[in-house]
């Protein structure tokens, strides 16, 4: 096996080491970059910004703890934007594993900064089993699906929910998700009830939803940590996503470098073999 063959079949642990270094380095030497805004992120921001103050917005925490690096900054930035506009926020989740806890923690942390009162300015509905039933059922009556909020308080005792009975009373739905639920929000809620929906999704899922943005079924899209950083910039709520762009940048560059090295090794190995055959 010559040098090029060895390079082409490099032990994957060297690659893991390089990626690890690329992620650790920006933690030691902070890096900041100018972040450009994609049209889809701007569309989402402008749609939310155009809502009249005091509009009711439903913010969904449809992501698992595994993807918090990408999705939680989106939810946080969205909450900053909504609370600054004095919008009323109704949060809910279709994720049983920690969804209600994450919704509770993130919302209350941001709400404290704006002196928002639970029950009047925001409500956490929590989780109910079977998302199809939940998404469809809320079109008729939110109270039928969620008789009480996440902490067990009856919806009738919460001032905000006196005016929010179903999707007709919701001006916008901001879905933050790491799974297919966005598609179901679009096909069940947007298609049947007409409520505008914007989505923040992981980078892996984002390419799929360009089709929905293109057809107008989604009003804007945030993709991955870059999308979260864009929204943080637009909403003037700089946070973890913007800081994480340094790590993501270096990691991407390392991967591109490895791909180039792999191809050089591939072609050089081929040519050296052809040379030997001749």
């Amino acid at each position: 096996m010559n040098f090029w063959d060895k390079l082409g079949t490099l032990d994957r642990r060297w690659i893991y080491l390089l990626v690890a270094l690329s992620v650790i380095f920006p933690l030691i030497v902070p890096m900041s970059f100018k972040i450009s805004i994609t049209p889809e992120a701007r569309q989402l921001f402008e749609a939310v910004d155009a809502l009249p103050d005091s509009s009711v917005v439903m913010l969904t925490f449809d992501y698992y703890p595994s993807t918090v690096a990408e999705t939680e900054p989106m939810a946080t930035a969205a909450l900053h934007h909504l609370f600054r506009k004095d919008c009323k926020v109704v949060t809910m989740t279709t994720i049983p594993l920690g969804g209600p806890s994450m919704a509770e923690r993130v919302t209350r942390t941001v709400a404290r900064k704006y002196n928002k009162v639970y029950g009047t300015d925001f409500v956490n509905l929590g989780y109910k089993a079977n998302w199809v039933a939940v998404l469809k059922g809320m079109g008729t009556s939110i109270e039928a699906i969620y008789p009480a909020d996440n902490s067990g308080t009856r919806l009738s005792e919460l001032p905000l929910m006196a005016t929010v009975k179903n999707y007709d009373d919701v001006s916008f739905i901001f879905v933050v998700a790491d799974n297919d639920i966005v598609q179901n929000w679009v096909s069940i809620v947007n298609a049947q009830y007409g409520t505008p929906i914007g989505a923040g999704v992981t980078a892996v899922g984002a390419p799929k939803y360009y089709a929905f943005v293109g057809s107008g079924q989604l009003t804007g899209l945030l993709g991955g940590m870059k999308g979260a950083a864009e929204y943080e910039l637009l909403a003037d709520a700089r946070g973890l996503a913007e800081k994480g762009m340094g790590m993501q940048s270096l990691a991407h560059l390392v991967i591109i470098l490895m791909v180039i090295v792999g191809n050089i090794a591939f072609f050089a190995g081929r040519w050296s073999k052809k040379g030997k055959v001749k």
Partner: protein, 288 residues
């Protein structure tokens, strides 16, 4: 017969065009029937006719051509490799519950694969994430072994419940791959972020890998890390393809006819929209 059918389809379509345009505007909350959903009804009826028609022709013995799907042809080859090496075949029917259509497709394929492993006496390992999938998987594999006359070779632990959480499941299966070094890994069903974790570990373990999922966002990972990948509807076609049963193949062909119809409608729509007459045509497909 086919020409007659084509004329009937065309007439139905034209009538729908007129009827839908008129009726959609007239929907009121007093109506019993949701006329604004008539386009969905027409689509459903056409779809059912297409499926049932091809099933009828399949029953009559008409030969139905299905193109080769390399990934499915490789299943028998993969099992053969496992038999020669004396190593097991690892099959994962996705990580979703039994109510997910992809999991049902995965379980159907498991039945076919279990027949092949039973035939060659190849060890089969099926880790699952949910109890209901465990029950369905055990039923399917047992039935496969009985049909191949290998009831004694069947073991309840072939299908095993490993963990209920996504990454706990992935970590367990990765551990199984690195310890047992299966010769072939077959992933058929719904996968999420763990797709690359599983496929890359399988690659490191030296297994031949065949994957199939209908989730477009996971396809790139399987394509990069697996030897064969079934994309989208090929997963749903797999059960019919492996069984070669006329009834199942008939259903597959019917679905293809609908796809042809959709392509024709897209082309017609492009032409009409380009010429500036597409709005009425587009309104036919408004989802309600």
């Amino acid at each position: 017969m086919l020409k007659h059918l084509k004329i009937r389809f065309l007439l139905t379509f034209l009538l729908t065009f007129v009827a839908d345009y008129q009726l959609a505007a007239a929907q009121t909350s007093d109506d019993i029937f949701r006329v604004d959903r008539i386009n969905a009804l027409i689509t459903f009826v056409l779809f059912s006719i297409a499926i049932l028609l091809y099933i009828k022709w399949a029953k009559e013995g008409k030969p139905l051509f299905i193109r080769k799907i390399a990934g499915l042809d490789a299943v028998e080859e993969a099992v053969g490799r496992a038999t020669e090496m004396g190593k097991p075949v690892l099959f994962i029917p996705g990580i979703q519950e039994i109510d997910d259509i992809e999991t049902i497709a995965g379980i159907s394929i498991l039945g076919r694969v279990a027949k092949i492993t039973a035939q060659y006496d190849t060890p089969l390992v099926v880790p699952v994430r949910y109890p209901m999938v465990l029950a369905a998987g055990q039923e399917v594999v047992e039935q496969a072994y009985i049909e191949m006359g290998k009831r004694d070779s069947y073991n309840r632990d072939i299908v095993r419940y490993v963990a209920g959480e996504q990454f706990a499941f992935t970590a367990t299966v990765n551990g199984m791959m690195m310890r047992d070094r299966p010769a072939a890994n077959i992933y058929m069903g719904a996968f999420f972020a763990e797709s690359l974790l599983l496929a890359e570990t399988g690659n490191a373990a030296g297994s031949i890998q065949i994957a199939g999922t209908a989730r477009p966002e996971q396809l790139p990972f399987f394509i990069a890390a697996c030897d064969y990948t079934l994309m989208g509807e090929e997963l749903y076609a797999a059960s019919a393809y492996l069984s070669h049963e006329p009834l199942m193949l008939g259903g597959l062909k019917g679905q293809d006819l609908m796809k042809v119809l959709i392509v024709v409608l897209i082309i017609v729509g492009i032409i009409l929209m380009t010429l500036g007459f597409g709005d009425a045509f587009r309104n036919l497909f408004e989802a309600v």
